[in-house]
Amino acid sequence: MARTMTNYGLIGPERKKHNMAFENPNPSMDPFAGFWQDMMAKMNPTGMGQPFAPNSEDASKQMRRVFFDFWATQCEEYMRSEQFLDAMKQSMENAMAFKQQTNDFLSRVLKDTPMPTKTDTDSLMLVLRSFEEKVLTRLESISRRVDALENVAKAESSKAMPAKRRTKGDTQ
């Protein structure tokens, strides 16, 4: 068994040679075969290529760990590939197109019955937000003007205070 696993574990040019020796009857299986060959190759350093006690708890746990780690790495590699990213983009575009169609259909149905559509509520929200924005901006400008007026009033009263005191002193 150990011998067989070591053969499966061949990587790089040696693996190519090995495959050519079998004249590769089904090239479409290459990615699948490559997955298992790579996994077996990675199992070797963990001792999995060597005979081990079949009932050993650690061995089976270790084997599972290696398998999951390898599977996770393969998944991540695939999910980073151009192929996957294109597929993801395509599926999102399809989902958005479908949702858009549903929205349009529902809008038409709701228009026929006297009901507000999503577009109507969105427009209403936008009007409210723009109204809120205007009110807040106006309040802010009023607040600034009030602050400025208060500052002027404070400055004037502080100017007047010493003068008042002086007047009192003069009288005494």
């Binding site: 050993s56 999951f68 996770a72 990213l85 999102m92 958005m96 969105d122 929200m125």
Partner: protein, 368 residues
């Protein structure tokens, strides 16, 4: 070796092994009533809270700890908008909040609520300059102080950094956990998926309104498909007899399945301006007509990152320490994952007591 290992060891099974596995399977299935009972009775949120302020759907919660308040400046926890904030107080022994309460901090949490279709136009300005600022003002008024401490997690951490940069005078100490600020590196999986070429966020929000919760949840799970869809259930099968494991498992599952939609405009702005255009670290991000300049942060900063974070790799958070002007700034890179940083047993034993001490050293005791 359990039956869960069978697919990996099948070729060496003897009839005796198979019988043993079958018996073991039946034995585990006998725990099913217990599993269902634990699933039914599992509750999330370890510490009682009271709602002290409600702003539209946003609730400000105050934790009711047993310990008397020792420090003057309260702590506000700001979580991301994509999940519920109780992850920071999931269960007894897995609660970040409990460390601050037991150290004597008056602790608050911002629950952003669940946005509905009408909230699709809420943007960064509304969340940061609106809700966050009102929450901070309210806490300051309630505690009769001028400043608060902020602890921001994940996207909530980025928002906390933005808020602190805009309102440094109101923040005494800033703690960030797994908070992304620099998206210049696109090596991580989420960075690749949200790339402009692949992800048209404008169109998505135009069509969907808010960012749907299911879409977010699927994306997060797909980042680690083997762990999310396979490995987790193997572990569950092997530990079906362990009540403590089941309680933790169901509490975690409750939180994981409890995604909430994100207000459309907020999501669009965050993805477009931060993740795709990386404006925050470059000092180009504008919130409510003001430019967010991270160099305006001068308060003590503790930047916590998770070594094995698949969602926010350390490289997205570490540049913050160079961007701020704080003289007192440090980083702890803890050996955990994105969620393990909050609920991991090691993090709760080794990291959080130290973080609470860090904050205590920089806070004034009451009456001093």
């Amino acid at each position: 070796m359990t039956i869960a290992d069978a697919p990996f060891t099948q070729w060496m099974m003897t009839p005796g092994d198979m019988q043993k596995h079958w018996q073991e399977f039946l034995e585990r299935m006998s725990h099913m009533p217990k599993v269902l009972e634990v699933a039914r009775k599992t509750r999330v949120g370890a510490t009682p809270t009271e709602t002290v302020k409600q702003l539209d759907k946003v609730r400000l919660l105050r934790y009711l700890g047993d310990r008397e308040q020792e420090f003057e400046t309260p702590l506000i926890v700001v979580f991301a908008l994509v999940n519920r904030p109780y992850i920071l107080d999931l269960r007894k022994g897995k609660s970040v909040v409990s460390h601050f309460l037991s150290r004597g901090f008056n602790t608050y949490n911002v629950d952003w609520g669940v946005p509905s279709d009408g909230d699709r136009f809420l943007g960064m300005k509304d969340y940061i300059e609106g809700y966050m600022d009102e929450v901070v003002d309210h806490v300051c008024e309630e505690c009769n102080v001028d400043q608060v401490n902020i602890l921001g997690y994940c996207m909530g951490g980025s928002m906390s950094a933005m808020y602190t940069a805009l309102h440094q005078d109101k923040v005494k100490n800033l703690i960030l956990m797994a908070a992304p600020v620099d998206w210049s590196s696109r090596d991580h999986l989420l960075g690749q998926w949200t790339d402009k070429k692949v992800f048209d966020v404008d169109k998505l929000i135009e069509v969907y309104g808010n960012m749907p919760a299911e879409m977010l949840q699927n994306s997060f799970q797909m980042l680690k498909p083997v762990s999310s869809f396979v490995e987790k259930y193997f572990t569950f099968y092997e530990n079906m007899h362990d009540e403590k494991f089941l309680e933790d498992f169901f509490a975690m599952e409750t939180w994981l399945q409890d995604n909430v939609p994100v207000a459309g405009e907020m999501f669009r702005e965050f993805v477009k301006h931060c993740m795709q255009e990386n404006q925050l670290i470059q000092g180009k991000l504008r919130v409510g007509g003001r430019t967010v300049n991270l160099a305006d942060i001068t308060c003590p900063l503790l930047n916590l990152t998770a070594e094995q974070d698949h969602l926010v790799p350390c490289g997205l958070s570490h540049p913050l320490n160079d961007a701020v002007s704080s003289a007192d700034r440090s980083t702890i890179n803890f050996r955990a994952g994105h969620i393990g940083l909050a609920v991991g047993s090691r993090a709760n034993k080794e990291l959080w007591p130290n973080v609470a001490n860090w904050l205590a050293e920089r806070s004034s005791p009451i009456g001093v």
